[in-house]
């Protein structure tokens, strides 16, 4: 008999083109069967809910080790579970940097009992300093699923070429935070009228585009897959689309905030709206939404970047970059479906099978025998974002106070119910 049956939900599995109201049976942590009238030791009534593969986030910052006052593996894992995620990939800008096999292994071991699967991304360069290669092979052996110097761009083009060449045998993507430091300068928000009006230093789109262009060429040169993190510009979308058209191994992700917000939406000087890359123009937003819909962008990633209130409560210039997004992601991006910009199945694909394929992860689909990672959400539930109720330790969220439609209720990781009726089961 199955351990758990999810009854009567609208099952959407984009990888298998399934969209049907039925039951799902889970046994020994795996999908055992899909079909009507299934029974198990335990059942959860999912009438009115969408049941889909557990969401996969290729890009989060869990701040552990080293900055546990912002977030740690457990609080970040709980935030992920509450947001419907069952797998998150955590960036290496920890203290110390995740640039050796030992640190990767430590993170994997400490995360093993958490509510979601946490997969580390290793550094490209030692200490993210952009000067010498990190121990990429050791990290991959210890469980790293990709490498990235996220938070900064690798400025030295020759070193970047070497990193991509060296990474090739490990069959992992190189993830770039495309940023030319000279063009970025002291910028704190998108360059344009809003920045001019507020007297804030602007960051031009070109600061992002020139490194995307460079690294696409290096990917062509080396044959190593390139994944562009948090794509935000019209120019970047065009570069990625053209590279894919030419058959190159180039992929991209986009954040919920870049899909829904623009620089003119930002309340004046609100540090909870400060992130890198910054919110761009309405035309850029339009470009990334179109790219998500047509498949140029295959993944939505939150870039969940926690910071403590005392770190954010500074003048805009001095506040750190980054906003959190794990617990709001689904409610935010479902707006695109209601706006008619993307089908529900395609949106779910970009949160599940899309990202799984890019990093070569198992999961992201509901085939019999697959990991029993599932997300059950109510697409019609309306709720107000109250950061003080987040499982995350941090509150730096631009959606605070907004009403969202669509909320994850149950999250199942490896057959375990880690979140039930919106409450993480091992917490509080």
């Amino acid at each position: 008999m199955p351990d758990l049956v999810l009854k009567n939900g609208r099952v959407i599995d984009p990888a298998h083109a399934i969209d049907a109201t039925t039951d799902i049976a889970i046994r020994h942590g795996r999908i055992a069967a899909l079909g009507d009238g299934l029974d198990g030791a335990e059942s959860i009534d999912c009438t009115g809910l969408v049941v889909c593969p557990g969401l996969i986030d290729l890009h989060v910052h869990l701040r552990d080790p080293g900055q546990e006052w912002k977030e740690d593996l457990l609080s970040g894992g709980r935030a992920a579970a509450a947001g419907g995620f069952t797998t998150v990939c955590c960036m290496p800008n920890t203290l110390p940097t995740n640039d050796t096999g030992a640190i990767t292994r430590d993170m994997v071991e400490r995360a093993a009992d958490g509510p979601v699967r946490i997969l580390p991304v290793g550094a490209i360069t030692r200490g993210l300093a952009g000067e010498a290669l990190a121990e990429i092979g050791e990290m991959v052996t210890a469980g790293a699923v990709a490498i990235s110097d996220d938070g900064c761009g690798v400025q030295d083009s020759h070193l970047m070429r070497r990193a991509m060449e060296y990474a090739k045998p490990f069959e992992i993507p190189v993830v770039i935070h495309p940023q030319d430091d000279h063009l970025f300068g002291h910028g704190v928000m998108n360059e344009g009228w809003r920045a001019t009006e507020l007297g804030l230093a602007g960051i031009p789109s070109a600061a992002e585009d020139v490194q995307i262009d460079r690294d696409i060429r290096l990917s062509a040169l080396t044959g190593t897959p390139l994944h562009v993190a948090h794509l935000s510009t019209t120019g970047g979308v065009e570069l990625v689309r053209r590279a894919q058209g030419a058959g190159l191994l180039v992929s991209a992700e986009v954040t919920p905030h870049h899909l829904l917000l623009t620089d003119t939406d930002m309340p004046a000087y609100d540090p909870d709206w400060k992130m890198s890359p910054p919110l761009r123009s309405a035309a850029d937003r339009e470009a990334v939404v179109a790219a998500l819909a047509d498949g140029t962008i295959q993944a939505i990633a939150t870039d969940h970047a926690p910071h403590a209130p005392e770190e954010k409560e500074r003048p805009f210039d001095d506040a750190p970059f980054g906003v959190i997004g794990l617990e709001t992601c689904l409610g935010v991006v479902l707006a695109l479906v209601r706006e008619g910009r993307i089908s529900l199945a395609d949106l779910i694909h970009r949160l599940t099978a899309g990202p799984a394929r890019l990093f070569g992860l198992d999961g992201g689909h509901l085939g019999v025998g697959a990991r029993a990672d599932l997300c059950c959400f109510d697409p019609e539930a309306r709720w107000r974002v109250e950061p003080e109720r987040f499982y995350s330790k941090s509150r730096n969220c631009p959606w605070a106070g907004r009403e969202l439609t669509g909320r994850p209720l149950h999250t199942i990781t490896g057959g375990r119910v880690v979140c039930r009726d919106g409450a993480v089961t091992d917490a509080r």
Binding site: W193, T196, L198, G202, E310, E313, P315, F316, D317, D318
Partner: protein, 322 residues
């Protein structure tokens, strides 16, 4: 408070602003009212005894988190001529260097129980932040590259005195527009008042989408100045040449230093303004700075009167709510 014959006739403010953060929030009527009030205080400044008891018993905290000589002295003088107790809270001596957050600084200031706060800060938005945190009126004395409303008001006061009107004037603002809070606050106020504005600078010193201020954009002095009634020169900060905005002060001066020969292109009676301090020979020729067209010292004088009006009106506005 007892009114005396020396105090300008108290008028109710025709607006409900609790803080002065930028000129953007002021209507044409409100700006004219402020300038009219400043005329009354300007008259006081020409008397032998330049002090009125209007703000006796009030405490003004001048908080300067970046260096300033002119604006700070001007605010201090304005407060003292209104008989207020003026306290200076300066960056060098403050806890900011010790890592105290702006929030805690604000709460400390609030707890001291002052009646008005004047703030100068290197970060854009700092005045708005303090205004949000504090009950008492906050007067922005310059925040980052964002706004410097009292400077714009004193510039308008000077222009109106020199030329007799504001609406319909043509004004060119020349220099580092990108980093200038003075230019921003003037462009916004001038648009509100129907002044035709032009900006002129090398493209490296013009911010993105600057034309959205309603100004015409020029790269050449001769084109920008043609037919204007006033020219406002901005101080060029020497460190900008290191940032690559222009190759050298020499070349900048060659292209953008206002000289007497330029004035022939302007409208007859054109006046020259500069917020100071001047780099003679860089943005302004030596002889022009002292010439009959210059209203630079009038600006300094006007600054005290305008700030007296601002302090008085915002204090009164706040007091009337209590």
């Amino acid at each position: 408070m007892a009114e005396t014959i020396d105090t300008p006739a108290p008028k109710a403010l025709p607006f409900a602003h609790t803080d002065l953060l930028d000129t953007a929030e002021l209507t044409a009527k409100e700006i004219r009212f402020l300038l009219d009030q400043a005329e009354s205080f300007h008259e006081i400044n020409e008397r032998q005894v330049k002090k009125v008891p209007t703000l006796r018993g009030a405490t003004i905290m001048d908080c300067f988190f970046e260096p300033s000589t002119r604006t700070r002295s001007s605010f201090e003088l304005a407060g003292k001529r209104l008989s207020a107790d003026v306290i200076n809270f300066s960056a060098a001596a403050s806890s900011l260097k010790k890592g105290e957050s702006l929030r805690d600084t604000a709460r400390t200031l609030a707890a001291m129980g002052t009646d008005l706060i004047v703030v100068r800060h290197p970060a854009s938005g700092a005045a708005a932040y303090l205004a949000h945190e504090l009950e008492v009126p906050v007067i922005n004395a310059g925040d980052g590259c964002h706004a410097h409303p009292t400077q714009a008001l004193l510039d308008l006061f000077t222009l109106r005195r020199a030329l007799g009107r504001l609406s319909g004037l043509k004004v060119a603002i020349v220099g580092d527009i990108t980093h200038s809070r003075v230019a921003r606050s003037n462009l916004l106020a001038m648009r509100t008042l129907g002044v035709e504005t032009r900006v002129c600078a090398p493209p490296t010193l013009l911010p993105a989408a600057v034309e959205r201020y309603g100004c015409r954009v020029f790269y050449r002095m001769a084109d920008a100045i043609e037919g204007v009634d006033a020219i406002m020169m901005l101080r060029i900060q020497r460190e900008r040449q290191g940032g690559g905005a222009f190759p050298s002060l020499r070349e900048y001066a060659h292209n953008y230093c206002l000289t007497r020969s330029h004035l022939a292109l302007a409208a007859p009676g054109c006046v020259v303004l500069h917020p100071g301090p001047i780099n003679r020979g860089v943005e302004l020729a030596h002889d022009l700075a002292d010439g009959p067209e210059s209203r630079i010292l009038d600006q300094v004088t006007a600054g005290v009167a305008v700030r007296m009006a601002v302090l008085y009106l915002f204090w009164q506005q706040h007091g009337s709510r209590q």
